[in-house]
């Protein structure tokens, strides 16, 4: 369990990171709808992911409408790959016992 990245291991954050891994960038609304989290919950998880350097947030405007763009950083992509490999290894070891 110590091998696993605690930031990504939380299911909601894993979902956010996995969603962002499939796109170049997306806005807050798309991630909100796809994750089915509440606005507050999503904001708080995004803050943690941003703090860990896994997600980049860009506040901008589309006309007069505010737009928050979200991007997975290179560090975030690497962390997701490492997480998947670590979990795979852990489960293989558990099955082998």
């Amino acid at each position: 369990m110590t091998d696993l990245d605690r930031v990504i291991h939380e299911p909601a954050r894993l979902l956010i990171v996995a969603l962002l891994a499939g796109v170049k960038e997306a806005d807050f609304l798309w991630v909100l709808r796809e994750s089915a989290l509440t606005k507050g919950n999503l904001s708080s998880h995004l803050a943690k992911l941003e703090e860990a350097g896994y997600v980049e947030l860009e506040k901008t405007y589309k006309g007069k409408i505010p737009l928050t763009l979200l991007r997975l950083t290179r560090q975030g992509r690497a962390a997701l790959e490492t997480y998947k490999k670590s979990l795979d290894g852990l489960l293989k070891r558990a099955v082998a016992r």
Partner: protein, 210 residues
């Protein structure tokens, strides 16, 4: 891990499915096919002479450009209709291996079509429409399974039915052009219906949701 892998795989496919959420791709594809089929029918209907020659010099280039124009128009329409309602996504560029695979498929298809066109007197025109109907139908089935889009199965059924129907009419190569026009109309109608349902189900959000 197998269960988690499946979930992560499913999540990874969501952006791809999002491209098809509003019916716009089917609508634009349908319009494009109607244009292609119609352009070929018009070209064949022109009397031989300078007009026909000029038409066939310009039309192929315009038809190729229309493919790029359709992608551009789809993106612009998504910006106006889809993104304000269900969120903005910038899709990842296809990987190098995907591009190579797509180019290989396009080359093989072009070679098959060239071989078919070269054998016009060998009775190919009788089977061209049913064969094209089967190929397009299979393509719709594969797309339906990959994108979990059951509505594409309806287009698969229409493609095979139209292929067989136009084949039975024995209208020669014209039947292929009519197949494109009719299948394009079906696709455009399905896309329009899905777009209307999407717009009704997803009213425009007042802000971005944040």
């Amino acid at each position: 891990m197998a269960h988690l892998d499946l979930n992560l795989d499913e999540i990874a496919r969501r952006p791809q499915r999002y491209w098809d959420v509003d019916g716009l791709p089917e609508l634009m594809m349908g319009l494009l096919w109607m244009l292609w089929g119609g352009a070929w029918l018009l070209g064949d209907a022109l009397p031989h002479g300078w007009r026909s020659n000029a038409y066939w010099m310009v039309a192929p280039a315009l038809l190729v450009l229309s493919g790029f124009a359709a992608v551009w128009a789809t993106k612009r329409l998504k910006e106006r209709l889809t993104f304000p309602r269900t969120g903005y996504v910038d899709w990842k560029e296809p990987s190098r291996s995907s591009r190579v695979s797509a180019a290989a498929v396009a080359m093989v298809t072009a070679m098959v079509l060239a071989a078919v066109a070269a054998n016009r007197d060998a009775g190919m025109e009788r089977v061209a429409a049913p064969l094209l109907g089967v190929i397009l139908s299979l393509a719709f089935v594969v797309a339906s399974l990959r994108q979990r889009a059951p509505h594409l199965l309806a287009l698969a059924a229409v493609a095979i039915a139209l292929g067989l129907a136009f084949g039975a009419l024995r209208a020669g190569w014209e039947s292929v052009n009519w197949l494109f026009v009719a299948l394009g109309a079906a696709s455009a109608a399905l896309g329009t219906l899905r777009l209307v349902l999407f717009l009704r189900k997803n009213p425009r959000a007042p802000g971005e949701g944040s």
